[in-house]
């Protein structure tokens, strides 16, 4: 129960920051990408602000802690290889982000605006994630039966 309350609280603070910083404002996001036109540098300050907290924590703070307060262990990614999936996935993500101006966090945060456009975007986004896993499962299934 404490784990869920803590997680909910983190989500609220995260969503608060997303809305405050303008990440849910597609005009601002597109303006940030428009470096050859009417560039809006605000999101640089957003990323800077977030890294001012996360960088010192992950580099200096996390190693001093034994375990999370409400669960058994810290779960951290371990992979360091740069593969085709990572590169092509990131490239596609940037294209979609540049098309509409919403990335996954702000898409969910902006659901509170009760706007049908955002709901359509978010459902299409989850469908995209689902399709990747569907294809992955088909491929591994075929390999297993071959």
């Amino acid at each position: 129960m404490k784990l869920l309350a803590a997680s909910l609280f983190c989500g609220i603070v995260f969503g608060f920051g997303l809305a405050m910083s303008g990440m849910t404002d597609i005009a601002r996001v597109i303006g940030f990408f428009d470096i050859f036109g009417n560039w809006d540098p605000t999101l640089m300050f957003v990323m800077g602000g977030a890294l001012m907290v996360s960088l010192p924590f992950f580099q200096l703070g996390l190693g001093r802690l034994k375990a999370p307060v409400f669960s058994d262990m810290f779960r951290l990614p371990t992979r360091r290889d740069i593969d085709v999936r990572l590169v092509s996935g990131a490239a596609l993500f940037g294209i979609g982000w540049g098309m509409v101006g919403l990335c996954p966090g702000p898409a969910f945060a902006a659901l509170s605006y009760m706007n049908l456009d955002i709901l359509i975007f978010t459902v299409a986004m989850m469908a995209g994630m689902f399709v990747v896993d569907l294809v992955d499962n088909l491929v591994t299934g075929e390999q297993a039966s071959a």
């Binding site: 983190c10 969503g15 098309m99």
Partner: protein, 136 residues
């Protein structure tokens, strides 16, 4: 410095604090791609992810109410929204992360994968907006 830069900075600090708290309290990386996938498609095995996802719109709602900032406008053709959303979904799942997981947390961890991913998605975002500008 324009006020919106300072508000952006403060919003970024809030995002960073939330990411650090999620690791300290729950032991998880604040990567929305993974959290959203687990929260939506595997809610029973990841109840913490559901709780976090519920918090996102609540937090945004709280900001607009407390600051009395109007909600931003959205008006895009439906086909464009669906195409853009689908590409974001495929890309983030394939590339194992988005702005939060790769950008905020991954760069914070100095992960080579995340630094490369962030540079790539920022570049293709810029290129997409540039090409849209040429075509319109």
């Amino acid at each position: 410095m324009p006020q919106e830069y300072l508000i952006g900075l403060a919003g970024g600090l809030s995002i960073g604090v939330a990411a650090v708290l999620l690791m300290v309290l729950v032991g998880r990386i604040a990567g929305i791609t993974g959290i959203a996938f687990n929260g939506v498609f595997q809610p029973m095995s990841h109840p913490w992810a559901v709780a976090f996802m519920v918090g996102l719109p609540l937090g945004a709602f709280a900001w607009h109410n407390l600051s009395e900032t109007p909600v931003p406008a959205f008006d895009l053709p439906m086909a464009w929204l669906i195409a853009g959303g689908f590409v974001v979904g495929v890309g983030t799942r394939l590339g194992s992360g988005c702005t939060s997981g790769h950008g905020v947390c991954g760069i914070g961890r100095l992960s080579p994968r995340s630094i490369v991913a962030t540079l790539i998605f920022m570049t293709t975002g810029v290129l997409t907006v540039f090409i849209r500008g040429l075509l319109s």
